[in-house]
């Protein structure tokens, strides 16, 4: 079980770092929105993994709220993006 925790931790950290790299470097606003979405879903999966491993469901509602935030974030940016935002 310890190995699983180590591997999952490394994988989650790597994917979060990649998402942050895309947020920093992303040429356009939309790249950052997409990377933000990936970052939030990585956090959701990490939280869920922690809950699964330690056999408790205390922060299950946190998952729900995080999922809502990720989606609302991309909704708002995509809706109010200026028409001629150059990449």
């Amino acid at each position: 079980m310890g190995i699983v925790i180590a591997i999952a931790g490394v994988l989650f950290a790597a994917s979060a770092l990649l998402a942050v790299y895309r947020i920093v470097r992303g040429p356009s606003v939309l790249d950052r929105v997409v990377a933000g979405d990936v970052l939030v879903s990585t956090v959701i999966c990490a939280l869920g993994a922690e809950m699964a491993i330690n056999r408790h469901t205390d922060n299950l509602p946190v998952l729900l709220v995080l999922a809502l935030f990720a989606v609302l974030g991309s909704f708002s940016v995509a809706r109010f993006l200026p028409k001629r935002d150059r990449a």
Binding site: D31, V34, S41, A67
Partner: protein, 113 residues
């Protein structure tokens, strides 16, 4: 279910969701433009979520947990495509895509609104 089986199942599902998230991260880096990055962002997101929520359900099969898990997955499955569609439209209207790698541009004739 015996404890060993649950351990293995939990470990496997956690690893599946971790690999999915890694695929999303790598996809973000490797893909050339916003639209293809959208693929990388949304697919693993829903599968990772499913793996994790299934995991939580496997561990404590109370009714409250299962309903909340189903609610989360349903909510995410409904709204993630909508968000991706909106981002895709915004990317298209503000010319974020590289038309050299597009195979068919179905919206080209219909004028940019």
């Amino acid at each position: 279910m015996s404890d060993l089986v649950r351990d293995i199942l939990t470990g496997a599902l956690v690893l599946v969701s971790a690999v999915m998230c890694l695929a999303a991260g790598v996809g973000l880096i490797r893909f050339p433009d916003v639209l293809s990055r959208l693929h990388a962002a949304t697919k693993p997101q829903i599968f990772g979520l499913m793996a994790v929520t299934l995991d939580v359900a496997v561990n404590n099969l109370t009714l409250a947990t299962v309903t909340l898990v189903v609610a989360i997955v349903l909510f995410q499955a409904l709204t993630a495509p909508m968000a991706a569609h909106l981002v895709g439209r915004a990317a298209y209207t503000s010319e974020h895509l590289r038309s050299d790698i597009l195979i068919i541009d179905e919206l080209s004739g219909r004028g940019r609104h």
